[in-house]
């Protein structure tokens, strides 16, 4: 029978876990990058025929998740983003945290309180603009979206890793 020393066994286990965790986070980062690239494609490649021809289809796809009101969307390089400023913020926040998570492989905890706190500025902004306390501002919407999006991504990542990646060890 072949015995593996206990410290080697643990280090191999941790190494395996970290590799799985990193692979999973990398997949999430690539997926999110593709998603963000989709709603920015017209602005990033304004003169590409392929990007122009894909715009009507991309508009259909992003219409499912956003109202796409042009007065609430950013305009760059002759094209409006496919999603509103708030959604741009949410996805950007998620992308930033997914990028950071590639380098900081800490085990995240499922913190509902953090998620609720991150949602407060966005809820206040939505209520304030809807009731007319102050008028809609794209930068406010973007910033509150980034804050909320980053917390949501961290929470979802924690839930998935704690329930799927850890169990597969």
């Amino acid at each position: 029978m072949h015995y593996i020393p206990l410290n080697n066994f643990f280090s191999q286990g941790i190494k395996k876990h970290l590799t799985r965790s990193l692979t999973f986070r990398l997949i999430l980062f690539i997926s999110l990058s593709c998603w963000c690239m989709g709603f920015l494609i017209g602005s990033i490649f304004p003169n590409s025929v392929y990007s122009i021809i894909s715009l009507p289809f991309l508009k259909i796809i992003y219409r499912i998740v956003c109202h796409q009101l042009i007065e609430k969307s950013f305009f760059y390089n002759g094209h409006y983003f496919m999603v509103c400023a708030r959604c741009t913020g949410i996805y950007t926040g998620a992308l930033i945290i997914s990028f950071i998570s590639l380098f900081a492989l800490h085990k995240l905890s499922e913190n509902i309180k953090m998620l609720s706190i991150a949602a407060i500025p966005m809820i206040i902004d939505v209520i304030s603009t809807s009731t007319g306390i102050y008028s809609y501002h794209k930068v406010f919407a973007l910033l509150t979206g980034i804050f909320f999006g980053s917390a949501v991504f961290a929470y979802i990542l924690a839930v998935i890793e704690n329930n799927f990646v850890d169990n597969s060890l």
Binding site: I52, L55, P56, I60, I64, V65, C87, V159, N163
Partner: protein, 168 residues
Amino acid sequence: MNQNKLLPSLVCGFGAAVLTTVPGVKNFACCLIVPTAAVISINLDHKINRSEFPIKAGQAILFGVMTGVFAALFSTFFDLLITYLTRTNDFIEALPQTEDFIKQYKLDSLLSETMIIFKQMSKDINSYGFSIFYAFAMLVSNLCVNVIFGMIGGITGMSFFNKRKTKI
């Protein structure tokens, strides 16, 4: 999955599809509608079927996927119905702008084919209120996006309800 298990996803998927069709509601919640529907469907299942805690990850994902699928089917139906009644939609309205832009370039054969398909879609919708290609594109995109967002809602709901139950 028996009929009682399917009911919460069906109800919540229908609700999500209705809410995504109503423009005013969509302005507030946007991308949170389908994930919220998945969370509610898990809660409904536990109230109707008195399922056991903790909720298993596979079960939560299944509820998320089913809610996403039903939301996609109903929202495609609503979209096609509105397109049939109005004989226009966002796609048709955006097409002339795309066409103008594309005229500036020399297109290769593949892109020319794509433009022909776009024009055929536009013609079908303007004259019959329905285009099979548009319906297919709508269904596929709705399914892909809603299933992913439903799954996110499902796993978030699982974590939320399991935590709440352990606190009680």
